[in-house]
Amino acid sequence: MVNSTRFGSKRFVLGTLAVMAVAAAAVTALSDRRAVEVSVVRGSSEKVHSILAALPIEVGTPFAHDWSSERAMVTGGWLLALEVEPEMLVRHQSADPVLYVGDHAVERINSGENSGRVIVIVPKRIDLENAPIYFGSAALPESVSASTRKLELTRARNDGAKPFSEAALSAAYKKGLSGSDTATVEFQDRRAVLEFAAQWIYEFCPDETEFANSLLLM
């Protein structure tokens, strides 16, 4: 059951939300001293406070995900609005904690360092009900490999990171879809995704209006 409509440069595709399995994340007890020490130097899921909106996306013209060493092509994923500890978003020149959704380092579109609200692209359509959202070790995102990402996820779970609740996700889906029953939004290309994200920046991060404007300049 697929219908599509045009909206600006974006094509909205009706779909059906997958029924998310409620799989409680297994919290493995910390069993060794080293693991505890590692969790101290990394960020943690406690720094990710809430998920404000979630939008499943597809992209007509794939683009490279520069936030991993593989630079895999993005054909679909999630656009999320998150509220996190602002200090975690302050950008330094040396390595900063990497923001993960499940085992994916996500692209941060805006700064968010004042509001704590950051719009991100998850490069794959993963099951959010099984994907904790957390800050991992400090690194350059472009250097993070698949094995590192899996290790970070394991560590995060060991540290107690859990996915957001079904209720929180449902609210986020509802907000992301603006009340429509559109389940997946297909964008022509990366630029169209960013133009859509600009609307979220206006809404969630009004202190970054100038940046949002710049995303609409082309």
């Binding site: 472009e142 630029r191 300049l217």
Partner: protein
């Protein structure tokens, strides 16, 4: 400024068509007053020598420098001991518009640019005693878009008001006798336009560019392009201070949105693609006003922080062929300037190779801090990797945020911090001459890149209780001869050119310039404490020494066959105090010592490095990074004109020098000290 020996050698080569350089250069050493370009244009007894300069408080007593800031005094002197064709007496001295050898005509009337000639008396036995002021800051430096005007100095020996045989001239050759230089931090002559545009062909979301260009660009020719790549968390609109400044001096500046958060690869890609997209869009950007007015063969990249590493990575990608531009190529990149660069990538990936490279480091930087705790913040490492001409500027009190004009925190730690206004003036003072060097060669501004600020200041000084500027200057594309760069013959008693090295000193260690632990805390067993010039896998080496008594020394033998140093312009090295060592903290101030040459007959001539002003600077008094006070070690360049060792008839045969000795102790400079030394060499240029 005349370089008589070189001029003489070049002349002989030209006349006789024989480059046999070793024979001619080493076998025909001529006192400079005997250079007679017979029968060139009818002159057969014209004496060329250095005349313009500045007085020094101690031997050699006078320094024949090349550049003077507009509005400051210009002095002159002659060393009668060397200029033995000039009889002590009173003469008319002319300051005239610069002409080259091909432009001067015999019997040409001397027209003094000051309005009239000056009667001077050269009767003293020392060059210091013959010093006279020949201008009190009235000479013009207004050269349009260039930074200096050249002048020649003539001693009209026969008093006929014309350049004739027997007269003495400074500036007869290709270069003038001296230059009067604009304060490079002053605005240029052109009005400027700033505008924001977007381009296609770059990563979506990063299309923004901030452009600066002269407001009369449509009437100008093709102008060099300067590209600015900002750092992480920074903004491409934060470099107005550089954009307007360069545009006012006839450059086009493009500062672009930079993709720094993922890392250095993405940042470098943005630099590469923005440069391409900009050059490919000239026909449409801002109504196409730039079309036909950007010189694609003249590009300089400036980067900040991650963007500073990004521009080096970008160059490396061009070098390795990982990025093939459409609208420019690697040869069009004339130089880089990295402001507080990170160093995430290895030397295989972040490497300036042979392109001219310049480094800014802020000693108060609280982000790319330079602490030994992480090699990511070792700013000096990129500089060490550079194989071409390389330069660095180290600012005490400058924070990471002081280099942009985006407001907010200076991201600084430590005492006596300098603000953005001060930092930006220093940046303009250095970057404009650097750009002229990259694009034009610009001999007129070379001294601005290496002379110590203690003695070389514009008419409105860059002065303040917290302003301390240190420079290194290593022209690696000019003729040079290493005495010891510590990279070869890796034992401490053999120099890199194979000569013996001997020590009479408290301690000396040759090794990799890498602090062995993660802090700057003093340790008696860490001779390389505070060094952040190398890391594991890279072996940039040097020497550290310390002294606490008189006449302690290090001596480098000059090997047979290399002992004629008379044709070299400068004896140069770089040195640094070693942070937090008791000998360093004992006396807070510049370190000085003597450099001594000894010839094969045992004659010696010595010059204290402090004679020229300044010395080896005290470490910035910042705490943290372990216990104690004093931030990382930083090299600065010392250049001593070889000819200065012969001043006032000093008995030394520069064609037979068997040893260079650094002599330490209270009778020779600082009573105690600990110092790092590297790149001891002879250079021309």
């Amino acid at each position: 400024m005349t370089t008589p020996r070189i001029a003489a050698a070049a002349f002989f080569c030209a006349i006789f068509g024989s480059l046999g350089s070793a024979q001619i250069l080493s076998g025909t050493h001529l006192p400079e007053d005997t250079f007679r370009p017979t029968p060139y244009k009818g002159f057969h007894n014209l004496i060329t020598t250095d005349i313009a300069g500045r007085p020094l408080p101690q031997f050699p007593g006078f320094s024949f420098v090349q550049s003077f800031y507009e509005g400051t005094d210009v002095n002159a002197s002659v060393d009668l001991a060397r200029l033995n064709h000039l009889t002590p007496g009173t003469y008319e001295l002319f300051v005239v518009a610069d002409q080259t050898a091909t432009e001067w005509a015999p019997n040409e009337e001397l027209i003094d640019v000051r309005g009239s000639s000056q009667t001077v008396s050269f009767t003293g036995a020392t060059v210091a005693s013959n010093a006279v002021t020949i201008d009190t800051g009235t000479l013009s430096a207004d050269a349009g878009l260039r930074l200096a005007i050249g002048y020649d100095v003539v001693i009209d020996v026969d008093g006929d008001g014309r350049l004739t045989n027997g007269d003495v001239i400074d500036g007869y050759g290709a270069e003038p006798g001296f230059y009067v230089v604009r304060d490079p931090s002053s605005d240029g002559p052109l009005g400027t336009i700033e505008t924001n545009v977007t381009v296609t062909g770059v990563k979506a979301g990063f299309e923004g560019e901030n452009l600066f260009y002269p407001d009369n660009i449509s009437s100008l020719g093709k102008l060099p392009l300067i590209v600015i790549s900002h750092g992480n968390g920074h903004n491409f609109n934060w470099y107005d201070h550089l954009g307007h400044h360069f545009a006012s001096w006839g450059f086009v500046v493009m500062s672009h949105r930079n993709d720094t958060v993922p890392g250095i690869q993405t940042a470098s890609q943005t630099t590469l693609t923005h440069t391409d997209a900009f050059l490919g869009s000239l026909g449409t950007l801002d109504g196409g006003i730039l079309d036909g007015h950007v010189d694609v063969s003249q590009i300089m990249w400036i980067g900040h922080s991650r963007g500073a590493e990004g521009i080096v990575r970008a160059y490396d990608k061009l070098f390795d062929g990982f990025y093939v531009p459409t609208n420019y190529d690697i040869d069009d990149i004339k130089g880089l300037s990295s402001i507080a660069p990170t160093i995430f990538l290895s030397k295989d990936d972040t490497n300036p190779h042979g392109v001219p490279f310049h480094l800014w480091t802020g000693a108060s930087d609280n982000d790319v801090s330079g602490c030994a705790s992480s090699s990511i913040v070792y700013t000096f490492l990129t500089h060490e990797r550079a194989l071409g001409d390389r330069y660095s500027t180290y600012l005490h009190g400058a924070g990471h945020g002081a280099f942009h004009n985006g407001g907010g925190s200076l991201v600084a730690a430590g005492p006596c911090q300098i603000n953005r206004t001060e930092t930006h003036r220093i940046m303009k003072t250095y970057l404009l001459p650097l750009a002229h060097t990259y694009f034009y060669g610009a001999p007129e501004v070379q001294e601005l890149l290496w002379r110590q600020d203690e003695e070389f200041q514009p008419a409105v000084p860059i002065a303040g209780p917290c302003i301390v500027i240190n420079k290194t200057y290593q022209r690696r594309t000019v003729a040079r001869q290493a005495i010891d760069n510590f990279q070869f013959f890796r034992d401490i008693i053999t120099s890199s050119h194979g000569g013996a090295v001997s020590f009479s000193i408290d301690s000396a260690t040759e090794g990799v310039l890498d602090d062995p632990d993660t802090n700057f805390t003093f340790s008696a067993v860490e001779p390389m404490n505070g060094m952040t010039y190398s890391i594991t896998g890279e072996s940039w080496r040097g020497l550290t020494v310390d002294w606490s008594a008189n006449d302690q020394n290090v001596e480098w033998e000059i090997r047979t066959g290399k002992r004629d140093i008379s044709n070299w312009e400068y004896l140069t090295f770089r040195a640094t105090q070693i942070t937090r060592h008791p000998n360093t903290t004992a006396v807070l101030g510049d370190l000085t010592f003597e450099v001594e040459l000894r010839d094969e007959l045992g004659n010696k001539s010595s010059i204290n490095i402090g004679a020229y002003g300044g010395g080896i600077e005290e470490p910035y008094q910042r705490t943290g990074c372990g216990t104690g006070t004093g931030w990382s070690n930083f090299f600065e360049t010392i250049r001593i004109p070889v000819a200065d060792f012969e001043t006032d008839g000093a008995v030394i045969d520069l064609s037979r020098i068997e040893a260079v000795r650094f002599v330490f102790g209270p009778a020779f400079g600082s009573a105690v000290g600990r110092m790092g030394i590297d790149d001891l060499e002879l250079t021309n240029g």
